[in-house]
Protein backbone atom coordinates (compact mmCIF):
# COMPACT_ATOMS: atom_id res chain seq x y z
CA UNK A 1 0.00 0.00 0.00
CA UNK A 2 1.47 3.39 0.73
CA UNK A 3 4.76 4.23 2.36
CA UNK A 4 3.19 6.15 5.22
CA UNK A 5 2.48 2.94 7.09
CA UNK A 6 4.74 2.16 9.96
CA UNK A 7 5.44 -1.00 11.85
CA UNK A 8 4.28 -0.42 15.36
CA UNK A 9 6.83 -0.57 18.11
CA UNK A 10 6.24 -0.52 21.86
CA UNK A 11 6.59 3.27 21.86
CA UNK A 12 3.84 3.72 19.25
CA UNK A 13 1.65 1.31 21.16
CA UNK A 14 2.10 3.44 24.26
CA UNK A 15 1.09 6.48 22.22
CA UNK A 16 -2.03 4.81 20.81
CA UNK A 17 -2.92 3.55 24.27
CA UNK A 18 -2.69 7.11 25.54
CA UNK A 19 -4.81 8.43 22.65
CA UNK A 20 -7.39 5.74 23.46
CA UNK A 21 -7.11 6.54 27.19
CA UNK A 22 -6.42 2.93 28.02
CA UNK A 23 -3.72 2.04 30.50
CA UNK A 24 -1.45 -0.63 29.05
CA UNK A 25 1.25 -1.75 31.49
CA UNK A 26 4.76 -1.42 30.05
CA UNK A 27 5.40 -5.16 30.18
CA UNK A 28 2.39 -5.77 27.87
CA UNK A 29 3.35 -3.21 25.23
CA UNK A 30 5.70 -5.40 23.19
CA UNK A 31 3.23 -8.27 23.02
CA UNK A 32 0.42 -5.92 22.04
CA UNK A 33 2.62 -4.33 19.37
CA UNK A 34 3.16 -7.80 17.94
CA UNK A 35 -0.58 -8.52 17.87
CA UNK A 36 -1.50 -5.19 16.33
CA UNK A 37 1.21 -5.59 13.68
CA UNK A 38 -0.21 -8.96 12.68
CA UNK A 39 -3.66 -7.46 12.30
CA UNK A 40 -2.44 -4.45 10.37
CA UNK A 41 -0.31 -6.70 8.16
CA UNK A 42 -3.38 -8.79 7.37
CA UNK A 43 -5.39 -5.65 6.53
CA UNK A 44 -2.69 -4.62 4.03
CA UNK A 45 -4.38 -6.91 1.47
CA UNK A 46 -6.90 -4.12 0.86
CA UNK A 47 -4.13 -2.45 -1.15
CA UNK A 48 -4.78 -5.02 -3.91
CA UNK A 49 -8.23 -3.56 -4.61
CA UNK A 50 -8.48 -0.90 -7.28
CA UNK A 51 -10.47 1.89 -5.68
CA UNK A 52 -9.64 4.67 -8.11
CA UNK A 53 -12.62 6.94 -8.46
CA UNK A 54 -14.62 5.05 -5.84
CA UNK A 55 -16.50 7.18 -3.33
CA UNK A 56 -15.95 6.03 0.26
CA UNK A 57 -19.06 4.40 1.68
CA UNK A 58 -20.00 6.18 4.88
CA UNK A 59 -23.51 4.82 5.33
CA UNK A 60 -25.61 1.97 4.05
CA UNK A 61 -28.87 3.76 4.75
CA UNK A 62 -30.49 4.56 1.42
CA UNK A 63 -31.60 8.00 2.54
CA UNK A 64 -30.32 11.41 3.41
CA UNK A 65 -30.36 12.39 7.04
CA UNK A 66 -33.74 13.55 8.20
CA UNK A 67 -34.22 17.05 9.49
CA UNK A 68 -36.55 18.19 12.20
CA UNK A 69 -37.54 21.56 13.62
CA UNK A 70 -34.95 22.94 16.00
CA UNK A 71 -37.05 22.47 19.11
CA UNK A 72 -36.42 20.94 22.50
CA UNK A 73 -38.19 17.55 22.50
CA UNK A 74 -36.65 15.87 25.50
CA UNK A 75 -35.04 16.55 28.86
CA UNK A 76 -35.94 18.15 32.14
CA UNK A 77 -35.07 15.18 34.31
CA UNK A 78 -31.66 15.77 35.91
CA UNK A 79 -32.22 13.01 38.49
CA UNK A 80 -32.38 10.42 35.72
CA UNK A 81 -29.37 11.91 33.95
CA UNK A 82 -27.05 11.52 36.94
CA UNK A 83 -28.71 8.32 38.15
CA UNK A 84 -25.74 6.10 37.24
CA UNK A 85 -22.91 8.50 38.05
CA UNK A 86 -20.19 7.09 40.31
CA UNK A 87 -19.94 10.45 41.98
CA UNK A 88 -22.70 13.02 41.58
CA UNK A 89 -23.33 16.14 43.59
CA UNK A 90 -26.35 18.39 43.14
CA UNK A 91 -27.03 17.15 39.61
CA UNK A 92 -23.38 17.50 38.60
CA UNK A 93 -20.93 14.77 37.63
CA UNK A 94 -17.89 14.98 39.89
CA UNK A 95 -14.39 14.25 38.60
CA UNK A 96 -10.92 14.58 40.10
CA UNK A 97 -9.72 18.17 40.31
CA UNK A 98 -8.39 19.47 36.98
CA UNK A 99 -7.51 23.07 37.86
CA UNK A 100 -4.52 23.76 40.09
Amino acid sequence: MSQDKATLDAKTVAKIAHLARIKVPEEEQAHLADELNKLLGWVEQLGEVDTNGVEPMTSVAAQTLRRRPDQVTDGGYPDAVVLNATDAAEHFFSVPKVVE
Binding site: I16, V24, V43, L46, V49, T51, V81, N84
Partner: protein, 493 residues
Protein backbone atom coordinates in the same frame (compact mmCIF):
# COMPACT_ATOMS: atom_id res chain seq x y z
CA UNK B 1 -50.00 -31.79 29.56
CA UNK B 2 -47.59 -30.99 26.74
CA UNK B 3 -44.16 -29.72 27.59
CA UNK B 4 -44.86 -25.99 27.44
CA UNK B 5 -41.24 -25.00 26.85
CA UNK B 6 -41.06 -27.12 23.71
CA UNK B 7 -43.83 -25.22 21.91
CA UNK B 8 -42.97 -22.79 19.15
CA UNK B 9 -44.06 -19.21 19.68
CA UNK B 10 -46.91 -19.53 17.16
CA UNK B 11 -48.19 -22.68 18.92
CA UNK B 12 -47.87 -21.07 22.34
CA UNK B 13 -49.85 -18.04 21.12
CA UNK B 14 -52.56 -20.40 19.83
CA UNK B 15 -52.58 -22.27 23.14
CA UNK B 16 -53.06 -19.04 25.07
CA UNK B 17 -55.86 -17.89 22.79
CA UNK B 18 -57.61 -21.26 23.17
CA UNK B 19 -57.11 -21.06 26.96
CA UNK B 20 -55.27 -24.41 27.01
CA UNK B 21 -52.89 -22.85 29.52
CA UNK B 22 -52.29 -19.39 30.99
CA UNK B 23 -49.46 -16.94 30.42
CA UNK B 24 -48.49 -17.38 34.07
CA UNK B 25 -48.25 -21.18 33.59
CA UNK B 26 -46.13 -20.70 30.48
CA UNK B 27 -43.84 -18.21 32.21
CA UNK B 28 -43.53 -20.40 35.32
CA UNK B 29 -42.44 -23.30 33.11
CA UNK B 30 -39.78 -21.07 31.55
CA UNK B 31 -38.60 -19.66 34.87
CA UNK B 32 -37.98 -23.26 36.00
CA UNK B 33 -36.19 -24.03 32.73
CA UNK B 34 -33.99 -20.96 33.17
CA UNK B 35 -33.00 -22.16 36.66
CA UNK B 36 -32.23 -25.66 35.36
CA UNK B 37 -30.07 -24.23 32.58
CA UNK B 38 -27.76 -22.24 34.86
CA UNK B 39 -24.80 -24.52 34.10
CA UNK B 40 -24.85 -23.12 30.52
CA UNK B 41 -24.29 -19.58 31.87
CA UNK B 42 -26.60 -18.06 29.28
CA UNK B 43 -28.12 -15.39 31.52
CA UNK B 44 -26.24 -12.54 33.17
CA UNK B 45 -29.34 -11.40 35.04
CA UNK B 46 -32.52 -13.40 35.61
CA UNK B 47 -35.70 -11.39 36.14
CA UNK B 48 -38.32 -13.94 37.25
CA UNK B 49 -40.30 -11.38 39.32
CA UNK B 50 -40.65 -9.05 36.34
CA UNK B 51 -41.57 -12.00 34.12
CA UNK B 52 -44.32 -13.23 36.42
CA UNK B 53 -45.68 -9.72 36.87
CA UNK B 54 -45.79 -9.27 33.09
CA UNK B 55 -47.38 -12.73 32.66
CA UNK B 56 -50.17 -11.82 35.10
CA UNK B 57 -50.86 -8.65 33.16
CA UNK B 58 -50.85 -10.72 29.98
CA UNK B 59 -53.50 -13.11 31.34
CA UNK B 60 -55.65 -10.09 32.20
CA UNK B 61 -55.32 -8.88 28.59
CA UNK B 62 -56.28 -12.30 27.23
CA UNK B 63 -59.33 -12.29 29.52
CA UNK B 64 -60.28 -8.80 28.32
CA UNK B 65 -59.60 -9.62 24.67
CA UNK B 66 -56.97 -6.87 24.39
CA UNK B 67 -53.99 -9.21 23.92
CA UNK B 68 -51.16 -8.11 21.62
CA UNK B 69 -49.35 -10.03 18.86
CA UNK B 70 -46.70 -11.43 21.24
CA UNK B 71 -48.73 -11.49 24.42
CA UNK B 72 -47.33 -13.73 27.14
CA UNK B 73 -44.26 -14.86 25.18
CA UNK B 74 -41.30 -15.36 27.59
CA UNK B 75 -38.25 -13.90 25.86
CA UNK B 76 -34.59 -13.63 26.65
CA UNK B 77 -33.14 -10.16 26.00
CA UNK B 78 -29.54 -9.86 24.89
CA UNK B 79 -27.79 -7.75 27.53
CA UNK B 80 -26.93 -5.12 24.95
CA UNK B 81 -30.47 -3.69 25.00
CA UNK B 82 -31.05 -1.10 27.69
CA UNK B 83 -33.90 -2.12 29.98
CA UNK B 84 -35.30 0.47 32.35
CA UNK B 85 -34.25 -0.18 35.94
CA UNK B 86 -32.69 -3.56 35.10
CA UNK B 87 -28.92 -4.09 35.13
CA UNK B 88 -27.53 -3.72 31.61
CA UNK B 89 -23.90 -4.76 31.20
CA UNK B 90 -22.95 -5.44 27.54
CA UNK B 91 -21.06 -8.28 29.30
CA UNK B 92 -18.41 -5.74 30.27
CA UNK B 93 -16.83 -4.94 33.63
CA UNK B 94 -16.92 -1.27 32.66
CA UNK B 95 -20.72 -1.15 32.93
CA UNK B 96 -20.76 -2.46 36.51
CA UNK B 97 -24.03 -1.59 38.17
CA UNK B 98 -25.50 0.29 35.21
CA UNK B 99 -29.27 0.46 35.42
CA UNK B 100 -30.62 2.53 32.52
CA UNK B 101 -33.22 5.19 33.21
CA UNK B 102 -34.82 4.41 29.85
CA UNK B 103 -36.02 1.50 27.74
CA UNK B 104 -34.53 0.64 24.32
CA UNK B 105 -36.94 1.05 21.42
CA UNK B 106 -36.69 -2.67 20.59
CA UNK B 107 -37.63 -3.89 24.06
CA UNK B 108 -40.30 -1.16 24.31
CA UNK B 109 -41.84 -2.45 21.06
CA UNK B 110 -41.78 -6.04 22.32
CA UNK B 111 -43.35 -5.11 25.68
CA UNK B 112 -45.98 -3.00 23.86
CA UNK B 113 -46.96 -6.21 22.04
CA UNK B 114 -47.20 -8.18 25.30
CA UNK B 115 -43.82 -9.93 25.52
CA UNK B 116 -42.48 -11.15 28.87
CA UNK B 117 -38.82 -10.74 29.89
CA UNK B 118 -37.10 -13.73 31.52
CA UNK B 119 -33.83 -11.87 31.92
CA UNK B 120 -30.74 -10.45 30.27
CA UNK B 121 -28.64 -12.78 28.16
CA UNK B 122 -24.89 -13.23 28.09
CA UNK B 123 -22.89 -12.16 25.03
CA UNK B 124 -19.38 -11.34 23.92
CA UNK B 125 -18.18 -8.16 25.60
CA UNK B 126 -19.78 -5.25 23.70
CA UNK B 127 -20.83 -7.85 21.10
CA UNK B 128 -17.21 -8.24 19.98
CA UNK B 129 -16.58 -11.90 19.34
CA UNK B 130 -17.75 -15.02 17.55
CA UNK B 131 -17.76 -17.57 20.36
CA UNK B 132 -19.15 -15.82 23.44
CA UNK B 133 -15.82 -16.28 25.19
CA UNK B 134 -14.97 -12.59 25.69
CA UNK B 135 -17.74 -11.96 28.24
CA UNK B 136 -16.70 -10.58 31.63
CA UNK B 137 -19.33 -12.95 33.02
CA UNK B 138 -17.68 -16.05 31.54
CA UNK B 139 -18.36 -18.15 28.46
CA UNK B 140 -21.76 -19.57 27.48
CA UNK B 141 -21.99 -23.28 26.70
CA UNK B 142 -23.76 -24.67 23.67
CA UNK B 143 -26.71 -26.99 24.53
CA UNK B 144 -25.37 -29.15 21.71
CA UNK B 145 -22.56 -31.61 22.27
CA UNK B 146 -20.84 -33.76 19.68
CA UNK B 147 -21.96 -37.21 18.62
CA UNK B 148 -18.80 -38.99 19.57
CA UNK B 149 -18.82 -39.65 23.36
CA UNK B 150 -15.32 -38.20 23.79
CA UNK B 151 -16.36 -35.08 21.93
CA UNK B 152 -19.48 -34.87 24.10
CA UNK B 153 -17.19 -34.10 27.01
CA UNK B 154 -15.84 -31.03 25.25
CA UNK B 155 -17.55 -27.82 26.08
CA UNK B 156 -18.68 -26.26 22.83
CA UNK B 157 -19.22 -22.58 22.18
CA UNK B 158 -22.69 -21.40 21.08
CA UNK B 159 -21.16 -18.92 18.63
CA UNK B 160 -21.29 -15.20 19.17
CA UNK B 161 -21.77 -12.55 19.91
CA UNK B 162 -25.42 -13.44 20.63
CA UNK B 163 -24.33 -16.66 22.38
CA UNK B 164 -26.69 -16.48 25.34
CA UNK B 165 -29.58 -15.74 22.98
CA UNK B 166 -28.75 -18.74 20.78
CA UNK B 167 -28.23 -21.12 23.72
CA UNK B 168 -31.47 -20.11 25.46
CA UNK B 169 -33.65 -20.56 22.38
CA UNK B 170 -31.98 -23.80 21.30
CA UNK B 171 -31.92 -25.15 24.87
CA UNK B 172 -35.66 -24.45 25.33
CA UNK B 173 -35.30 -21.98 28.18
CA UNK B 174 -36.51 -18.93 26.24
CA UNK B 175 -39.22 -19.16 23.61
CA UNK B 176 -37.28 -16.65 21.51
CA UNK B 177 -34.60 -14.04 22.09
CA UNK B 178 -33.42 -10.72 20.78
CA UNK B 179 -30.05 -10.65 19.08
CA UNK B 180 -27.88 -8.05 17.45
CA UNK B 181 -25.74 -8.58 14.38
CA UNK B 182 -22.78 -6.41 13.42
CA UNK B 183 -20.80 -8.90 11.33
CA UNK B 184 -22.73 -12.14 11.87
CA UNK B 185 -23.62 -12.11 15.57
CA UNK B 186 -27.18 -13.34 15.00
CA UNK B 187 -26.60 -15.68 12.06
CA UNK B 188 -23.44 -17.55 13.12
CA UNK B 189 -24.72 -18.48 16.62
CA UNK B 190 -28.07 -19.49 15.06
CA UNK B 191 -26.14 -21.89 12.82
CA UNK B 192 -24.07 -23.26 15.75
CA UNK B 193 -27.17 -24.01 17.84
CA UNK B 194 -29.67 -25.13 15.21
CA UNK B 195 -32.10 -22.22 15.37
CA UNK B 196 -33.41 -19.49 13.07
CA UNK B 197 -31.66 -16.11 13.17
CA UNK B 198 -32.65 -13.07 11.14
CA UNK B 199 -30.60 -9.92 10.65
CA UNK B 200 -32.92 -7.37 9.07
CA UNK B 201 -31.87 -4.70 6.59
CA UNK B 202 -29.90 -1.89 8.22
CA UNK B 203 -32.49 0.70 9.23
CA UNK B 204 -35.40 -1.74 9.62
CA UNK B 205 -35.11 -1.95 13.43
CA UNK B 206 -34.32 0.98 15.67
CA UNK B 207 -30.88 1.14 17.27
CA UNK B 208 -32.04 3.59 19.95
CA UNK B 209 -31.17 2.33 23.43
CA UNK B 210 -29.09 -0.54 22.11
CA UNK B 211 -25.50 -0.25 23.29
CA UNK B 212 -23.50 0.69 20.19
CA UNK B 213 -20.55 -1.28 18.83
CA UNK B 214 -20.23 -0.19 15.17
CA UNK B 215 -23.06 2.15 14.32
CA UNK B 216 -23.03 1.72 10.52
CA UNK B 217 -23.35 -2.07 10.93
CA UNK B 218 -25.31 -2.84 14.13
CA UNK B 219 -28.80 -4.21 13.60
CA UNK B 220 -31.17 -5.99 15.98
CA UNK B 221 -33.14 -9.06 14.96
CA UNK B 222 -35.08 -12.09 16.19
CA UNK B 223 -33.62 -15.48 17.16
CA UNK B 224 -36.32 -18.13 17.17
CA UNK B 225 -37.01 -21.85 16.75
CA UNK B 226 -39.12 -21.52 13.61
CA UNK B 227 -39.33 -19.28 10.57
CA UNK B 228 -42.90 -18.29 11.46
CA UNK B 229 -41.73 -17.23 14.91
CA UNK B 230 -39.08 -15.04 13.27
CA UNK B 231 -41.81 -13.39 11.18
CA UNK B 232 -43.97 -12.79 14.27
CA UNK B 233 -41.12 -11.32 16.29
CA UNK B 234 -39.69 -9.17 13.49
CA UNK B 235 -43.18 -7.70 13.07
CA UNK B 236 -43.04 -6.45 16.66
CA UNK B 237 -39.42 -5.30 16.56
CA UNK B 238 -39.44 -3.46 13.23
CA UNK B 239 -40.67 0.01 12.45
CA UNK B 240 -39.69 3.64 12.09
CA UNK B 241 -38.25 5.35 15.15
CA UNK B 242 -37.67 9.11 15.04
CA UNK B 243 -35.12 8.69 17.86
CA UNK B 244 -32.72 6.78 15.55
CA UNK B 245 -31.51 8.96 12.68
CA UNK B 246 -30.77 5.87 10.55
CA UNK B 247 -34.13 4.22 11.16
CA UNK B 248 -35.92 4.07 7.83
CA UNK B 249 -39.36 5.61 7.52
CA UNK B 250 -41.15 3.06 5.35
CA UNK B 251 -44.11 0.76 5.87
CA UNK B 252 -43.49 -2.58 7.56
CA UNK B 253 -45.01 -5.41 5.49
CA UNK B 254 -46.98 -8.32 6.94
CA UNK B 255 -44.15 -10.80 7.47
CA UNK B 256 -46.30 -13.83 8.26
CA UNK B 257 -48.21 -13.31 5.02
CA UNK B 258 -44.89 -13.96 3.26
CA UNK B 259 -44.94 -17.61 4.27
CA UNK B 260 -46.80 -18.88 1.22
CA UNK B 261 -44.37 -21.68 0.42
CA UNK B 262 -44.41 -20.59 -3.21
CA UNK B 263 -40.95 -19.87 -4.60
CA UNK B 264 -41.57 -21.06 -8.17
CA UNK B 265 -39.42 -19.20 -10.63
CA UNK B 266 -37.44 -17.42 -7.93
CA UNK B 267 -33.79 -17.01 -8.95
CA UNK B 268 -31.37 -18.14 -6.25
CA UNK B 269 -27.83 -16.82 -6.61
CA UNK B 270 -24.99 -19.17 -5.72
CA UNK B 271 -21.81 -17.11 -5.29
CA UNK B 272 -18.78 -18.95 -6.56
CA UNK B 273 -16.44 -17.00 -4.26
CA UNK B 274 -18.05 -18.61 -1.19
CA UNK B 275 -16.30 -21.91 -1.94
CA UNK B 276 -13.39 -21.01 0.28
CA UNK B 277 -10.18 -22.94 0.56
CA UNK B 278 -10.12 -25.54 3.28
CA UNK B 279 -13.90 -25.49 3.73
CA UNK B 280 -15.02 -28.85 5.19
CA UNK B 281 -16.75 -31.19 2.71
CA UNK B 282 -19.71 -31.30 5.10
CA UNK B 283 -20.43 -27.62 4.57
CA UNK B 284 -20.30 -28.08 0.81
CA UNK B 285 -22.65 -31.08 1.09
CA UNK B 286 -25.23 -29.16 3.14
CA UNK B 287 -25.00 -26.22 0.76
CA UNK B 288 -25.64 -28.50 -2.25
CA UNK B 289 -28.56 -30.04 -0.42
CA UNK B 290 -30.02 -26.59 0.18
CA UNK B 291 -29.74 -25.82 -3.53
CA UNK B 292 -31.56 -29.10 -4.30
CA UNK B 293 -34.35 -28.29 -1.82
CA UNK B 294 -35.01 -24.93 -3.43
CA UNK B 295 -34.83 -26.43 -6.93
CA UNK B 296 -37.39 -29.07 -6.00
CA UNK B 297 -39.68 -26.26 -4.87
CA UNK B 298 -39.42 -24.63 -8.28
CA UNK B 299 -36.67 -22.06 -7.73
CA UNK B 300 -33.89 -21.59 -10.29
CA UNK B 301 -30.27 -21.61 -9.11
CA UNK B 302 -28.03 -19.10 -10.87
CA UNK B 303 -24.27 -18.92 -10.48
CA UNK B 304 -23.24 -15.41 -9.51
CA UNK B 305 -19.98 -13.66 -8.73
CA UNK B 306 -19.21 -11.43 -5.76
CA UNK B 307 -15.59 -10.67 -6.70
CA UNK B 308 -14.61 -8.64 -3.62
CA UNK B 309 -15.75 -11.26 -1.09
CA UNK B 310 -12.21 -12.09 -0.02
CA UNK B 311 -11.61 -8.51 1.11
CA UNK B 312 -14.72 -8.27 3.27
CA UNK B 313 -13.17 -9.43 6.54
CA UNK B 314 -10.18 -7.09 6.30
CA UNK B 315 -12.54 -4.22 5.44
CA UNK B 316 -14.71 -5.09 8.40
CA UNK B 317 -11.73 -5.18 10.76
CA UNK B 318 -10.88 -1.60 9.87
CA UNK B 319 -14.39 -0.15 9.77
CA UNK B 320 -15.81 -1.87 12.87
CA UNK B 321 -12.86 -1.08 15.19
CA UNK B 322 -12.81 2.52 13.95
CA UNK B 323 -16.47 2.95 14.83
CA UNK B 324 -16.04 1.08 18.12
CA UNK B 325 -13.13 3.28 19.23
CA UNK B 326 -15.39 6.27 18.77
CA UNK B 327 -18.52 4.72 20.33
CA UNK B 328 -16.70 3.34 23.35
CA UNK B 329 -15.10 6.69 24.15
CA UNK B 330 -18.13 7.37 26.35
CA UNK B 331 -17.00 4.85 28.99
CA UNK B 332 -14.83 7.14 31.06
CA UNK B 333 -15.80 6.43 34.64
CA UNK B 334 -17.76 9.67 34.92
CA UNK B 335 -21.34 9.11 33.89
CA UNK B 336 -21.95 5.41 34.50
CA UNK B 337 -20.37 2.13 35.42
CA UNK B 338 -16.93 1.45 36.77
CA UNK B 339 -14.54 4.13 38.03
CA UNK B 340 -10.95 3.35 38.96
CA UNK B 341 -9.25 6.31 40.60
CA UNK B 342 -5.97 7.70 39.29
CA UNK B 343 -3.53 10.43 40.17
CA UNK B 344 -5.52 12.93 38.10
CA UNK B 345 -8.44 13.01 35.64
CA UNK B 346 -6.39 11.52 32.78
CA UNK B 347 -5.13 8.82 35.10
CA UNK B 348 -8.68 8.05 36.17
CA UNK B 349 -9.77 7.68 32.54
CA UNK B 350 -6.84 5.42 31.67
CA UNK B 351 -7.16 3.24 34.76
CA UNK B 352 -10.91 2.90 34.38
CA UNK B 353 -10.68 1.89 30.72
CA UNK B 354 -7.59 -0.28 31.24
CA UNK B 355 -9.35 -2.31 33.92
CA UNK B 356 -12.89 -2.04 32.64
CA UNK B 357 -12.40 -3.33 29.10
CA UNK B 358 -11.41 -6.91 28.32
CA UNK B 359 -8.58 -7.94 26.02
CA UNK B 360 -10.51 -8.17 22.74
CA UNK B 361 -12.31 -4.86 23.30
CA UNK B 362 -9.02 -3.12 24.16
CA UNK B 363 -7.43 -4.55 21.03
CA UNK B 364 -10.26 -3.29 18.82
CA UNK B 365 -10.28 0.17 20.39
CA UNK B 366 -6.52 0.39 19.84
CA UNK B 367 -6.76 -0.70 16.19
CA UNK B 368 -9.60 1.75 15.66
CA UNK B 369 -7.69 4.56 17.31
CA UNK B 370 -4.68 3.82 15.11
CA UNK B 371 -6.54 3.66 11.77
CA UNK B 372 -8.30 6.93 12.57
CA UNK B 373 -5.15 8.71 13.74
CA UNK B 374 -3.46 11.47 11.77
CA UNK B 375 -1.25 10.07 9.02
CA UNK B 376 -3.01 6.69 8.81
CA UNK B 377 -6.62 7.72 8.24
CA UNK B 378 -6.43 7.70 4.42
CA UNK B 379 -4.30 4.59 4.13
CA UNK B 380 -6.51 2.44 6.34
CA UNK B 381 -9.90 3.94 7.10
CA UNK B 382 -10.66 5.75 3.85
CA UNK B 383 -9.30 2.79 1.87
CA UNK B 384 -11.57 0.39 3.77
CA UNK B 385 -14.59 2.62 3.16
CA UNK B 386 -13.82 2.53 -0.56
CA UNK B 387 -13.47 -1.26 -0.61
CA UNK B 388 -16.74 -1.38 1.31
CA UNK B 389 -18.36 0.52 -1.57
CA UNK B 390 -16.95 -2.12 -3.97
CA UNK B 391 -18.43 -4.92 -1.87
CA UNK B 392 -21.85 -3.25 -1.82
CA UNK B 393 -21.62 -2.76 -5.58
CA UNK B 394 -20.94 -6.51 -6.03
CA UNK B 395 -24.27 -7.28 -4.37
CA UNK B 396 -26.16 -4.63 -6.35
CA UNK B 397 -24.87 -6.19 -9.58
CA UNK B 398 -25.64 -9.72 -8.40
CA UNK B 399 -29.24 -8.78 -7.65
CA UNK B 400 -29.70 -7.93 -11.32
CA UNK B 401 -29.40 -11.67 -11.95
CA UNK B 402 -31.02 -13.18 -8.87
CA UNK B 403 -33.64 -12.51 -6.18
CA UNK B 404 -31.93 -14.07 -3.18
CA UNK B 405 -28.50 -15.56 -2.48
CA UNK B 406 -27.87 -18.90 -0.77
CA UNK B 407 -24.62 -19.60 1.10
CA UNK B 408 -23.42 -21.55 4.12
CA UNK B 409 -23.82 -19.48 7.31
CA UNK B 410 -20.47 -20.38 8.86
CA UNK B 411 -17.37 -22.26 7.70
CA UNK B 412 -17.63 -24.87 10.51
CA UNK B 413 -19.90 -26.35 13.15
CA UNK B 414 -19.53 -25.27 16.79
CA UNK B 415 -15.99 -25.63 18.13
CA UNK B 416 -14.75 -26.14 21.67
CA UNK B 417 -13.93 -23.40 24.15
CA UNK B 418 -10.22 -22.74 23.82
CA UNK B 419 -10.04 -23.52 20.09
CA UNK B 420 -9.26 -20.78 17.54
CA UNK B 421 -7.86 -18.60 20.30
CA UNK B 422 -4.21 -18.63 19.25
CA UNK B 423 -4.57 -15.52 17.18
CA UNK B 424 -7.47 -13.14 16.61
CA UNK B 425 -7.61 -13.69 12.84
CA UNK B 426 -8.54 -17.38 13.10
CA UNK B 427 -11.49 -16.33 15.25
CA UNK B 428 -12.44 -13.56 12.80
CA UNK B 429 -12.66 -16.16 9.97
CA UNK B 430 -15.88 -17.47 11.56
CA UNK B 431 -17.68 -14.54 10.01
CA UNK B 432 -16.31 -14.95 6.49
CA UNK B 433 -19.78 -15.65 5.01
CA UNK B 434 -21.78 -13.22 7.13
CA UNK B 435 -19.63 -10.07 7.07
CA UNK B 436 -20.05 -9.13 3.37
CA UNK B 437 -23.83 -8.66 3.66
CA UNK B 438 -23.34 -6.69 6.90
CA UNK B 439 -21.02 -4.29 5.10
CA UNK B 440 -23.65 -3.86 2.38
CA UNK B 441 -26.46 -3.42 4.95
CA UNK B 442 -28.45 -6.31 3.45
CA UNK B 443 -30.88 -8.60 5.25
CA UNK B 444 -29.67 -12.12 5.99
CA UNK B 445 -31.10 -15.15 7.71
CA UNK B 446 -29.72 -18.45 8.96
CA UNK B 447 -32.01 -21.48 8.79
CA UNK B 448 -31.22 -24.90 10.30
CA UNK B 449 -30.28 -27.40 7.58
CA UNK B 450 -29.82 -30.52 9.67
CA UNK B 451 -26.83 -32.06 11.40
CA UNK B 452 -23.31 -32.51 10.11
CA UNK B 453 -21.49 -35.85 10.44
CA UNK B 454 -20.17 -34.74 13.85
CA UNK B 455 -23.77 -34.55 15.11
CA UNK B 456 -23.78 -30.77 15.34
CA UNK B 457 -26.22 -28.39 13.64
CA UNK B 458 -25.40 -26.44 10.53
CA UNK B 459 -27.28 -23.51 9.07
CA UNK B 460 -27.69 -22.13 5.59
CA UNK B 461 -27.74 -18.41 4.99
CA UNK B 462 -30.20 -16.64 2.73
CA UNK B 463 -29.40 -13.06 1.74
CA UNK B 464 -31.92 -10.68 0.22
CA UNK B 465 -32.30 -7.31 -1.43
CA UNK B 466 -32.55 -4.27 0.84
CA UNK B 467 -35.85 -4.32 2.78
CA UNK B 468 -36.92 -7.57 1.15
CA UNK B 469 -37.22 -9.59 4.36
CA UNK B 470 -40.51 -10.87 2.94
CA UNK B 471 -38.75 -12.91 0.24
CA UNK B 472 -36.10 -14.05 2.74
CA UNK B 473 -38.80 -15.40 5.03
CA UNK B 474 -40.62 -17.08 2.15
CA UNK B 475 -37.47 -18.93 1.04
CA UNK B 476 -36.59 -19.74 4.66
CA UNK B 477 -40.04 -21.26 5.14
CA UNK B 478 -39.53 -23.54 2.14
CA UNK B 479 -36.12 -24.57 3.41
CA UNK B 480 -37.45 -25.29 6.90
CA UNK B 481 -40.16 -27.50 5.41
CA UNK B 482 -37.65 -29.39 3.25
CA UNK B 483 -35.21 -29.88 6.13
CA UNK B 484 -37.99 -31.42 8.22
CA UNK B 485 -38.27 -31.61 12.00
CA UNK B 486 -34.95 -30.83 13.71
CA UNK B 487 -33.73 -32.95 16.62
CA UNK B 488 -33.54 -31.51 20.13
CA UNK B 489 -30.10 -30.64 21.47
CA UNK B 490 -28.68 -33.26 23.90
CA UNK B 491 -29.11 -30.78 26.78
CA UNK B 492 -32.93 -31.06 26.42
CA UNK B 493 -33.14 -34.83 26.00
Amino acid sequence: MTNLTHLSMSDALDGLKKKEFTAVELTEAYVKAVEAARPLNAFITETPEIALEQAKASDARYAAGTNGPMDGMPLGIKDLFCTKGVLTTAASHILDGFKPAYESSITANLFRDGAVMLGKLNLDEFAMGSANITSYYGPVLNPWTGKDPAAAERKLVPGGSSGGSAASVSGRFAIAATGTDTGGSIRQPASFTGIVGLKPTYGRCSRWGTIAFASSLDQAGPMTRTVRDAAIMLQSMAGFDPKDSTSVDMPVPDFQAALTGDIRGLRVGIPKEYRVEGMPAEIERVWQQGIEWLKEAGAVPVEISLPHTKYALATYYVVAPAECSSNLARYDGVRFGLRVEGKDLQGMYENTRGEGFGKEVRRRIMIGTYVLSAGYYDAYYLKAQKVRARIAEDFAKAYEQCDVILTPTAPSTAFAIGEKQDDPISMYLNDVFTVPASLAGLPGMSVPAGLAADGLPLGLQILGRPFDEVTLLRVAGVMEQAAGAQPLPPFCR
